[in-house]
């Protein structure tokens, strides 16, 4: 499998070099530096030289490289590298050159634990944090035999993601439904592509080993007519009665595909579409899903862009909020591309602030608070310098970013979350919905 893991900074300095097999020679670091980091033409993330394959991922200002000498599983290699990034973020907050330099001992320790002879082992951050810790104090736990045998039980067990002795005075579970809505609109205003990538993040503070069941307004499930009685039983707790704020409350949603955290019993979902699981303690991503039908687009954008001769471009961009007037979006940012040879711009807006950012070749229009059903307009003009090589402007699409609470583009709703535990305690559950812009692009 993997022969080694290397981490480089942008200059090509080798920050971490961990060989797992004897065929990973120190010299490979130089080869990677020469062939990839200092070679601007390399575009593929996979490069095979001779019988050595380098698979790399760039994150912040570091390169993470996996070296393999065999016909390795490429998907696994990249998933592993991304998992390493995730682990780094979870340990150090930010996983960049500085973090690597400051924590290299810990990183070696982590690598030793999550890879053995090049085969990935347990990479669950919560479990790892029990016996590989940043503070010297905590690691004392791992030194006492009784504790560590418990830890190792858990690290390898069927419920490797949860300790058995968790106790909370107040049992709570928070569910966040976060949707990234992707849009690609053509210059003529037709929707070329609109879909939603959603994720459901849960923070569980529950005692013992609770068995949870989770219900959505999933069309496939509702169509089977299985549990209509659950409609009015949101599982107790006051946070779940918020369905009226989302638009498709009455309807159901077709989920194209779902992916689950490893705690979810996939067999049960496959058989009768019931999401049943024993949650890890604390925050985790319960599921991801994709929806492509009946996507509610929160914003409609009408850009009119005219190139006047070779010296001027006129913009008139109208944006309308398409959601209920009770809601409001925050941090709405519209990026309007300008030609590369823009000398200066003038902007007028009916709301918010617009600024020209020369390094990005964008006019950035920011609206901090955008209430539902309102419409704002920007008029701008970009003056161009004349160039000897008049190259056509590629007109990159206009892009949007925003976040909008209590709204789901797909219309997805959490119908219930039930917690079953031996202790039979009551628990409080909260649900929050949010829609963000994924890649929200409008051509003009």
């Amino acid at each position: 499998m993997l022969s080694g893991i290397l981490i480089f900074n942008q200059k090509g300095e080798n920050l971490i070099f961990r060989a797992f097999r004897s065929d990973c020679r120190p010299r490979l670091a130089d080869i990677f530096r020469i062939q990839v980091i200092s070679n601007p033409q390399v575009r593929s993330p996979i490069l095979t030289l001779g019988s050595t394959t380098f698979s790399h991922v760039k994150h912040e200002n570091i390169y993470l490289v996996a070296v393999t000498k065999s016909n390795a599983n490429a998907a696994l290699v990249f998933e592993f590298l991304y998992r390493l990034i995730m682990l780094g973020k979870s340990y150090f907050g930010k996983f960049d050159e500085e973090a690597v330099k400051n924590n290299f001992v810990l990183i070696y320790e982590l690598l030793d634990e999550i890879l053995d002879f090049g085969y990935p082992q347990n990479t669950d951050p919560d479990t790892l944090k029990m016996y590989i810790t940043t503070e010297g104090v905590k690691s004392a736990i791992a030194n006492s035999p009784t504790d560590s045998s418990r830890i190792t039980q858990q690290a390898t067990g069927a419920l490797s993601w949860r300790r058995s002795d968790i106790k909370y005075r107040k049992n709570e579970a928070f569910v966040d439904v976060i949707e990234d809505v992707n849009l690609l609109m053509s210059a003529t205003g037709t929707v070329l592509r609109a879909d939603v990538n959603g994720q459901i993040v849960m923070r569980a503070y529950l005692t013992g080993t609770p068995e949870c069941k989770f219900g959505l307004n999933d069309r496939l499930l509702l169509d089977t007519g299985e549990t209509s009685s659950n409609m009015n039983n949101p599982g107790g707790g006051n946070g779940l009665g918020t369905s009226k704020t989302t638009r498709a409350a009455a309807g159901s949603v077709t989920l194209e595909d779902c992916q689950f955290h490893q705690c979810v019993k996939l067999g049960r979902f496959d058989a009768d579409r019931i999401i049943s699981f024993v949650p890890p303690d604390g925050e985790f991503e319960l599921m991801r899903y994709r929806a492509t039908e009946n996507v509610n687009l929160p914003f409609k954008v009408h850009p009119i862009v005219r190139e006047i001769g070779t010296t001027k471009v006129e913009y008139s961009v109208a944006i309308k909020a398409n959601y209920s007037s009770k809601l409001f979006a925050t941090n709405v940012v519209i990026r309007i591309p300008t030609p590369l040879n823009t000398a200066k711009t003038t902007e007028r807006t009916s709301q918010g602030r617009a600024k020209y950012e020369p390094e990005q070749n964008n006019i950035v229009w920011k609206i901090a608070r955008f209430s539902g059903q309102s419409e704002y307009v920007l008029n701008a003009e970009a003056t161009l310098t004349s160039m000897t090589h008049q190259k056509a402007w590629s007109r990159p699409p206009l892009s949007l970013s925003f976040s909008l609470l209590m709204f789901t583009s797909s219309g997805l709703l959490v119908r219930y979350l039930k917690v079953f535990e031996k202790g039979n305690y009551s628990s409080v559950k909260w649900v929050r919905y949010m829609t963000r812009a994924g890649s929200y692009e409008i051509r003009f």
């Binding site: 004897s22 020679r25 120190p26 010299r27 490979l28 670091a29 130089d30 080869i31 020469i34 062939q35 993330p45 095979t48 030289l49 001779g50 019988s51 698979s55 393999t68 016909n71 390795a72 599983n73 490429a74 998907a75 696994l76 990249f78 998933e79 991304y82 001992v105 030793d112 053995d116 085969y119 990935p120 990479t123 030194n143 035999p145 560590s148 190792t152 390898t156 067990g157 069927a158 690609l184 070329l192 592509r193 879909d195 194209e256 595909d257 992916q259 689950f260 490893q262 019993k265 996939l266 067999g267 496959d270 991503e285 991801r288 994709r290 190259k391 056509a392 590629s394 007109r395 892009s399």
Partner: protein, 739 residues
């Protein structure tokens, strides 16, 4: 050790980093020692040689501080080879640790022991390994399981004689899922390095155990189990059905590795189940595959390459998913290219309008490479879907009207292919002819010349157009020259009165002033044909004969290779679309064997006609990659790792032995890539004689241009090792002079 101390006292100055580290390592204070160990590891990472500190670091091995122990072990793993004798001092600690009450310590000891590749240590491994394999803690057992694979790598006979393989096989029945997964992993590794051991034999019983573990073990374990399941040959239909049924839920896993491994397992076992059932599985497979397209770009790339393979086998699985593959503006280039190919594959008469609009949009972007591919894709769609051909041609005409140079050129090449499939688009020829002056690439020029020759009877000024090309005949690229020859002859046969002089001029230029053998040969053939007076129709029958229409311009893999690649889904091989033998050495650690094979191959090449050997490299597009191959082999010459760490500082120690090797250019492109390229080349060659140069394949003398490209690639890659660079340059010159 005493020697070392004495040498240390005399040779090493009493200052500097090494001295400070050493002082810290033997300090009486624990925290100072730990800090020094950390600094030593830091220096090690930066590539400094700190192997001289070996004895001092080793003194710190017996500690109760787990973190410090790990650091010492890390150091030990790196430098054990440089001090094999001293390693023996560590053995005691390892053996003791492997009986420590703390399972973390036991696992750490056995894990590290397997990584110290020194014979002496291996001798002491037997007992601890046997004990830990039967340890009460699953954490220790799963670590020991992998250690068996490490031992097998170091000393196969010892692993077999002590019965460790049998112990592993028993461990597939372990109650702990992770132990099962690691045992399978270890057995799989042993099995693939040494198939004769028959380490991994799946029976009905082990199959059941693995399916049980599948739902419980970590995601990485699942990948192993799933790929083992995929390779398993089922005995009856029932078993295949059972495997598919149990594996299919894994499509919903969040890890792309698991999803692809599950797809692979189901796809391979699906062949045995009833067609209806396999259809439902194909349907189930589609959404997870599409979801992979929204993952991180690198994972996306792997997924897209695999989807490409799946589509070649099952063209209909993603019929309705065209929009998902639309390129985002910020997608990396490698993702965009792959998406384009997939879009063309799933195009059908229902989604073609959408696709064309999208492709047209791409063709107006600025990234030249991407634009060209988009234009090419339009042509592929036109040839694939007959009903859409008219719309495609109109789109292409729109693009030609943009007058963007590279768009026009690519569009002309594409339109030529469309002419080869569909009659009835002659009306657009005048538009095409207007752009003749803007064309400067050989491909595009050849394409327009072919069009003029093919429709010479309908183009009134065909003579003038071709006359212009004949005037500059000797400045053209050879692929264009071939096309000029053919087209002039066609014109002459169709309208002899117009081209009498022209044909003589061009034949003269091609035979007496040209030094390309391909061009000369073709000219001579035409000359003979034309001077044949006995049957005046013979020439016409040959040159103007009806050509079979082309079927497709979409690249697809030969079926045998495709099947092989489908059994390699999600591996590197599936990303490269090449069988693993082409880029992996035989035997996982047989780097020496690879070198030996390479040397033999080189000698073989040298013995044969050197020109032939060089030409063969041009056959496959892999030529530049193969060039890099050698560079790396040279750099990586001491793969066996026998040299002590201190020797590595000498620059390119192993270079001298191999310089002779680089004299022969590059390894012959392997047969699989060669045959496909070659076959179509030959076909083009034939067609070429009959007045037709290949669609998208390089014509024969285009091959020589390829060859040069190949060498320029070699040149570039050569800058890694200066002496090698010179060598390859020299061989370049040799070959060029041969022409």
């Amino acid at each position: 050790m005493a020697m070392n101390k004495i040498r240390g006292a005399f040779a090493v100055p009493r200052k500097g980093e090494t001295f400070e580290l050493r002082a810290g390592l033997v300090s009486q204070y624990a925290y100072e020692r730990k800090e020094s160990i950390q600094k030593t590891i830091m220096a090690m990472t930066l590539g400094k040689d700190v192997s001289a500190l070996f004895p001092d670091v080793l003194k710190n091995i017996a500690t109760s501080d787990l973190e410090q122990k790990k650091l010492v072990y890390l150091y030990l793993m790196n430098y054990a080879k440089s001090h094999p004798d001293l390693c023996i001092l560590a053995v005691n600690t390892f053996v003791q640790d492997s009986e420590d009450p703390n399972p973390l310590v036991r696992a750490l000891a056995i894990r590290t022991m397997g990584c110290i590749r020194v014979d002496k240590i291996v001798d002491y491994m037997e007992e601890p390994l046997r004990k830990t394999l039967r340890d009460e803690s699953p954490y220790v057992r799963k670590t020991a399981a992998i250690c068996v694979a490490k031992l097998f790598d170091l000393n196969p006979t010892m692993a077999i004689e002590n019965g460790f393989l049998e112990m592993l096989q028993e461990m597939i029945g372990d109650p702990n899922p992770m132990v099962v997964a690691n045992s399978v992993t270890a057995l799989q590794e042993i099995h693939s390095t040494a198939p004769e051991t028959k380490a991994l034999q799946i029976t009905g019983n082990t199959l059941r155990k693995m399916l049980m573990a599948l739902n419980e073990c970590t995601e990485w374990g699942r990948v192993t189990v799933l790929s083992t399941l995929a390779e398993y040959k089922t005995s009856d239909v029932k078993e295949s059905e059972h495997i598919c049924e149990r594996v299919a839920p894994q499509f919903q896993h969040v890890n792309a590795g698991v999803v692809l491994a599950a797809v692979k397992a189901v796809f391979l076992h699906m062949k045995n189940v009833s067609p209806e059932l396999s259809k439902t599985y194909l349907k189930k497979m589609a959404p997870p595959l599409v979801t992979l397209v929204s993952s991180a770009p690198e994972v996306q790339y792997v997924a897209l390459r695999n989807i490409d393979l799946l589509l070649q086998k099952e063209p209909d699985i993603l019929n309705k998913e065209l929009r998902v593959f639309f390129c985002k503006y910020n997608d990396p280039q490698y993702v965009k290219f792959q998406k384009l190919e997939i879009m063309v594959r799933i195009a059908n008469d229902r989604n073609v309008d959408q696709l064309l609009a999208e492709l047209k949009e791409y063709a107006l972007e600025v990234d030249m490479d991407f634009v060209r591919r988009a234009v090419r894709a339009i042509g592929q769609v036109a040839i694939k879907i007959e009903s859409a051909s008219e719309r495609c041609v109109n789109t292409l005409l729109d693009l030609i009207n943009t007058k963007v140079n590279y768009v026009v050129q690519e569009a002309i090449v594409v339109i030529k292919d469309i002419f080869r499939k569909y009659p009835g688009y002659e009306g657009i020829i005048p538009t095409l002819c207007q752009c003749i002056d803007e064309l400067d690439e050989p491909n595009a020029r050849a394409a327009i010349i072919w069009i003029v020759g093919e429709y010479a009877e309908k183009i009134s000024n065909a003579g003038d157009i071709l006359g212009g090309f004949v005037d500059g005949f000797n400045e053209e690229f050879s692929s264009t020259q071939l096309q000029i020859l053919t087209s002039v002859v066609k014109l002459f046969l169709k309208r002899p009165e117009k081209a009498q002089g022209l044909v003589q001029r061009v034949l003269q230029a091609a035979t007496s002033e040209n030094d390309n053998p391909d061009v000369r040969d073709r000219a001579y053939i035409y000359w003979r044909l034309l001077s044949n007076t006995s049957d005046s129709n013979a020439t016409k029958n040959i040159v103007l004969s009806d050509k079979p229409p082309i079927v497709t311009t979409i690249h697809s893999l030969p079926p045998a290779l495709l099947d092989q690649l489908l059994s390699e889904l999600s591996t590197l091989s599936s990303v490269y679309h090449k069988p693993p033998e082409q880029f992996v050495g035989h035997g996982r650690f047989g780097a020496d064997a690879v070198m030996r094979a390479a040397i033999e191959e080189q000698i073989q090449n040298a013995r044969e006609n050197p020109l032939a050997a060089a030409a063969a490299t041009a056959g496959g597009t892999a030529a530049p990659a193969q060039g890099q191959n050698n560079v790396e082999n040279l750099l990586d010459i001491d793969f066996d790792g026998g040299a002590p760490a201190s020797a590595q500082t000498e620059p390119s120690a192993g270079m001298s032995g191999l310089e002779g090797l680089a004299g022969t250019p590059v390894r012959v492109a392997s047969p699989a890539a060669g045959t496909t390229g070659q076959a179509s080349n030959n076909l083009d060659d034939l067609l070429g004689v009959f007045g037709d140069s290949g669609a998208s394949q390089p014509s024969p003398s285009g091959g020589s241009a390829d060859l040069m490209n190949g060498f320029s690639g070699l040149d570039l890659s050569g800058n890694a090792g200066p002496s090698q660079n010179n060598q390859s340059k020299k061989s370049n010159d040799d070959i060029l002079s041969l022409f």
